[in-house]
């Protein structure tokens, strides 16, 4: 058993180190994605909440499309709900492959000149598609990291035999021991969440990583046709016809689904005698993600068929596991619990990474030589933990500061994230690590603190006016920015004090207490 524990310890250490930086980025952006619609609302301050029922919003969206895209081959409408205040309309004028036109409407059906932004959706996609590399490569990279995270979690439990007892004996200011305890505490606190989120994350892309079961049973595409059935395609008749009222179809679908409205409407051949409206049920109130699609004749408004995805057995289990990962079913309280568990995941990975350097620094202290591997890890820790934080703050700040008419504005918001991140990387390379930590953490703190200020100066939806109007989303976002600014500021102060105390102790020719083995470790 001792050998197994040692083997697991080595495995846990090295996989945690090699994939920890990527896992940290995935956890950070994935955690923010639990509020992706709220982030998008903040990043589109021009869109205001105009109350509208799903059927009214659908009618107004179709009226808009009839005026602006009467010749389109298809229309696609995403209806507003409790979290999304905008109606999004898309249409395709030509064949597949031609970019879709996208417009944002408010609840009243009026087009909103919202600033160009990728909003929270970019962060959501980043957590599994990354950026600057092909999505397929990214998904394999992310999958490898998630697979090793799963094994690393299990090996972590096997490695730390006192993991649960040490959870209750957290020590502060004792260097390596404290980092170990913090890593331990965050790991234990949300261990069921970490196991769930890692396993279900793999399940979301299961067929990409493990296609062999489906390949053994089906010829090309057979598995997908069964697991994700689509409504049959129809050809246009080539004869013009008036469309039936779409709001009535939305109400009918809502009645059939026990009060749950459609989330999207896919309208094929609008204005044609063969027009079809495919309404897909909202995922609200349901953990599973396989939602039925109800089809209506666009001309008569009568239901013409329903495609129901498998609701039992392993396919349903898979659907529920994916739903558990995405958390779209969660109410506000549960959504915050998801968020806080994600933050604990970031803390677990971050403290694990820092713990590795703290341990190594102690071992290498007497050597006197430069160790390239240690130097790289130390810098990458700064780049990942402080740099990504600063970059995300930069993304939000750019949303408020970039000129509204800037070409490719949404892309420049994303570039801003990576420019800030890269700048922190360069800073971490040229500065000693003990200085780089407080400096970059202070930068992240300043960026987050500047976000609500920039919001107040560039929009009429600053914190004071949001408080006055009771706009919970805007208030929560600004307060979260201030809290993050405060947290990074405290971290900068603590690391600055720690660096100063080590320097002064070394100047006196002593070894810092933080580098001495504690009683707990010695035992």
């Amino acid at each position: 058993m001792k050998t197994l524990r040692r083997a697991m310890a080595e495995f846990h250490t090295w996989t945690g180190l090699l994939l920890g930086w990527l896992m940290f980025a995935m956890f950070t952006t994935g955690t923010s994605a639990y509020f992706l619609h709220e982030i998008t609302r903040w990043m589109e301050p021009e869109v205001v909440d105009v109350a509208s029922s799903p059927s009214d919003a659908a009618n107004r969206a179709v009226a808009y499309l009839e005026r602006n895209a009467p010749q389109a081959a298809s229309w696609f409408i995403t209806l507003p709900d409790e979290r999304r205040v905008r109606t999004e309309v898309r249409w395709r004028s030509g064949e597949r492959g031609v970019p879709q036109e996208v417009r944002v409407l408010d609840g009243g059906g009026e087009e909103v000149g919202a600033r160009e932004t990728k909003g929270g959706y970019f962060l959501y996609r980043f957590h599994f598609d990354l950026h600057f590399i092909p999505a397929l490569w990214a998904r394999f990279l992310v999958g490898i990291a998630a697979m090793f995270m799963l094994v690393s979690l299990i090996s972590g439990v096997l490695t730390h035999r006192a993991i649960f007892t040490r959870f209750f004996s957290l020590s502060w200011g004792k260097g390596v021991t404290s980092w170990f305890d913090a890593h331990n505490m965050t790991a234990v606190f949300a261990l069921p969440f970490f196991l769930m989120i890692t396993y279900t994350g793999l399940v979301t892309l299961a067929y990409l990583y493990m296609p062999f079961g489906g390949m053994a049973n089906f010829t090309d595409g057979g598995y997908f046709a069964l697991a994700y059935p689509r409504p049959p395609t129809t050809e246009a008749a080539g004869e013009a016809a008036s469309m039936a009222e779409i709001g009535a179809m939305v109400s009918d679908a809502q009645a059939i689904w026990g009060g749950v409205p459609p989330e999207t409407l896919d309208i094929r051949h609008p204005g044609d005698r063969n027009a079809v409206v495919h309404a897909r049920r909202s995922r609200a109130g349901s953990i599973g993600t396989r939602m039925p699609t109800l089809s209506f004749s666009g001309v008569t408004g009568e239901p013409v068929g329903e495609v129901v995805r498998p609701y039992h057995g392993p396919l349903q289990a898979e659907s529920v596991l994916v739903g558990l990962h995405a958390g779209r079913f969660a109410s506000v309280g549960l959504r915050w619990l998801y968020f806080l568990s994600g933050v604990l995941g970031m803390a677990m990975i971050g403290t694990g990474l820092v713990q590795w350097t703290a341990r190594r620094r102690r071992r290498l202290a007497s050597d006197g030589r430069r160790h390239v591997g240690f130097w790289i890890v130390e810098r990458l820790n700064v780049v990942t933990i402080a740099g990504l934080g600063a970059g995300l703050g930069g993304y939000f700040l750019a949303n408020r500061l970039l000129p509204l008419e800037l070409p490719k504005r949404a892309e420049w918001e994303v570039h801003s994230l990576f420019i800030v991140w890269a700048a922190v990387g360069v800073w971490a390379l040229v500065r000693p690590a003990r200085r780089a930590w407080p400096e970059t953490l202070a930068l992240a703190s300043a960026i987050y603190a500047a976000v609500p200020v920039a919001n107040a100066f560039t929009t009429d939806r600053g914190l004071a006016s949001s408080l006055a109007s009771g706009d919970g989303v805007f208030v929560a976002f600004d307060v979260m920015m201030l809290l993050l600014g405060g947290a990074y500021g405290v971290a900068a102060l603590v690391s600055s004090r720690s660096a100063r105390s080590k320097v002064s102790i070394r100047a006196r020719g002593q070894r810092p207490a933080a580098e001495l083995p504690s009683a707990a470790e010695a035992s």
């Binding site: 050998t3 197994l4 083997a7 697991m8 080595e10 495995f11 697979m147 090793f148 799963l150 094994v151 299990i154 090996s155 096997l158 396993y199 793999l202 399940v203 299961a206 067929y207 990583y209 493990m210 062999f212 079961g213 489906g214 053994a216 049973n217 089906f218 010829t219 057979g222 598995y223 069964l226 697991a227 498998p310 057995g313 392993p314 396919l315 289990a317 898979e318 596991l321």
Partner: protein
């Protein structure tokens, strides 16, 4: 079991199998023996699947 359901079940279980195999791989005394076991069991399972496919076992 329905082939679609069986495929989904295999997908869900494969990650757990992977986790166990990874843990075993890093804890065995003899890596050579592990390779032998994995290659032998992999070959056996591949033969079963191949036979199934040859006998038109796919939908």
């Amino acid at each position: 079991m329905d082939p679609g359901q069986a495929s989904a079940a295999a997908n869900l279980l494969s990650f757990l199998l992977f986790a166990v195999l990874a843990l075993v791989a890093f804890s065995v005394q003899s890596v050579g023996r592990l390779w032998l076991i994995l290659l032998a069991s992999g070959t056996l399972m591949a033969l079963v699947v191949w036979t199934s496919i040859l006998s038109e076992g796919r939908v």
